[in-house]
Symmetry: C2
Amino acid sequence: MTQAVRHDSMRARNLGVVLGEVRRSGPVTRAALAEMTGLTKTTVSKMVADLLAAGMVTETGVPSRGERGRPGTAVALSGGRVAALGLEINVDYLSACVVDLTLEVRLRRARAVDNRAASPVETLSHLREIAREAVEEARSLGLVVAGSTLAVPGPVDDGLVHSAPNLGWRDVHVGELLDGLLTPLPTVDNEANLAALGELWFGSGHRDFLHVSGEIGIGAGLVVDGALFRGSHGLAGELGHVVVFPDGPPCRCGGRGCLEQYAGQEALLRAAGAGTVEELAGRLREGDAAALAACERAGHALGLALTSAVHLFDPGTIVLGGVFAPLFPWISGAVLETTAARLSAIRDAVPDLAVSRLGGDATALGAAGQVIHRIIADPVAYVTASRTAPAGSKPR
Amino acid sequence: MTQAVRHDSMRARNLGVVLGEVRRSGPVTRAALAEMTGLTKTTVSKMVADLLAAGMVTETGVPSRGERGRPGTAVALSGGRVAALGLEINVDYLSACVVDLTLEVRLRRARAVDNRAASPVETLSHLREIAREAVEEARSLGLVVAGSTLAVPGPVDDGLVHSAPNLGWRDVHVGELLDGLLTPLPTVDNEANLAALGELWFGSGHRDFLHVSGEIGIGAGLVVDGALFRGSHGLAGELGHVVVFPDGPPCRCGGRGCLEQYAGQEALLRAAGAGTVEELAGRLREGDAAALAACERAGHALGLALTSAVHLFDPGTIVLGGVFAPLFPWISGAVLETTAARLSAIRDAVPDLAVSRLGGDATALGAAGQVIHRIIADPVAYVTASRTAPAGSKPR
């Protein structure tokens, strides 16, 4: 019994070690894998056979000179079978994407929906449809969705959304409401955290940054040396509720003068007299004075909140994402002016301000990427599932 | 050559493993150490012999039933020989303390000095005197100061204090100015970081907290699961420059309306019309209206900055230290009122507000404690030094 348990956990560990090394170094021969991991060639061959059967790696014809073993047969991650589903509920849209094991984005879906007008049950039933379509389309591409993560715009604790004020949600058990949709049930995580991870894995290659996720709410995710900072209860990074003007207008959070009241999507559109971000961007391109003033004001408030955030977090670069990405040309000036005036005398280096290439897509991508990273770190469950599952599509 | 290097690095590693286990589990027998560390009994005996010779561990007569090996002979950390010096330069005082390997505080020295009126060279020459006295007094107790850390009230980068506005320092190479005083040269670190570590190692036992170090400047150190968060350049936690009222009075940092302008020691004393913190505390005890109003105002500003800090950092407990410790009874009410009003609707748990038992002593204690933790993690240098040094005081 004990021996069997030990054997199983050793196999699980070895699968993870081999797959991790294939991800880092692939395409790579079995002989090189044995050398890199310190495992015997027999063990490496067994692990590779299991990973091939599960469709997680593939053999390539790449010649690998100077290495022993079957000449010309290397192993690389396969994007052909195992995939992950990233889902996002935001205030005014739902989205989904499917990413394969090589982190290639295979499909995206987004739908504008006013989720404030809907109950959590309605919103989640809408999400089910989109998720089901995405899973079916993935299947038609030969992919098996092995897991999923759902992003929500509020702090999450073990599947419970305690409070998402911009959705009007309180104490919503998302996990339970999604029962029967996907196996295993999606992991639920905070939108701003996943957007920062999306920037880390799919963005411009920074490993030290504060990602600002501008939506109707404003969240931030701090990445230090490639790792997301989550705080003591997983609730860190609520930049939108940093106090900017203490006697300012009341906020849905119960406070007053929070950043969201000046630079959140709604505040910004209201000040500019625009209905949508697209409309606002159009007016900005035309040089509309009210639109420019609204961005100036939002940028100044964002600069004040980021001054406080830089003093506390000491980030590398600051990356503006979400709706701040398309509005970057009209907001960044006021942000930089405010932060430089307040930071440059005391800090050697004021963090650069960069624009996210991903914008609002970062969140769903981070959600899918999180699943892929978990699968690669601990593939045994997926390898085992593929053994017992009925024969389906072959790995490409 | 390669083998000798391997042997040396293995010995270094094993010394650290054995000493770490003695710290965690001591008093403990050699047989139990072998079992806990997975090292052979021969290796454990050799490492223990070296540590005994270096005065880092001591044999105790504690009976240890049910274990094999020499009955009744256990090994524990020794407080009798190896010690660390913690030093602090603050705006209006200098201090030193010596801590032994068991983290017992063996001596403390503090002297009120106006370091703003002095040049860096004058301040550091003053510090030399205090350090020399502390080292000599430690020697008279049979202790050998094996290392030191110096705390300064500003961000530090590899011994360079780029800017400590409250001291009037810019680009001071502290390391160079201390040459010849202590061997090895002191590590230089930020005051607020070391105060948080002091609270972690010598305080009330929390492992998740934001320690607020109220002096003339206000720094903060965030500890998450027993580890200090330092940010991307080691400059995190500058709570004193979080923006509280954006259009408020100019601050020495170049910004406006920073927390320090409302709740820093100077602002607080000025508002209360008091000359020292002791005088202010006396007036508060007498119910003086101006003193009470000054604390109310400082507490409100501190509450606003902490609201932003809680949203960004998501700390466990908040611990008020430095001058906020003696003033806690008169400041904490306004802090709590402000944070509760702004946090309780959106956060499940508003962090508790606690008072530091250590107050201003936390910094020098954290500085000395940091040295002890480094010695215990990597004792080989100290073990080797004790072999080549002339015979001195015996370990007790």
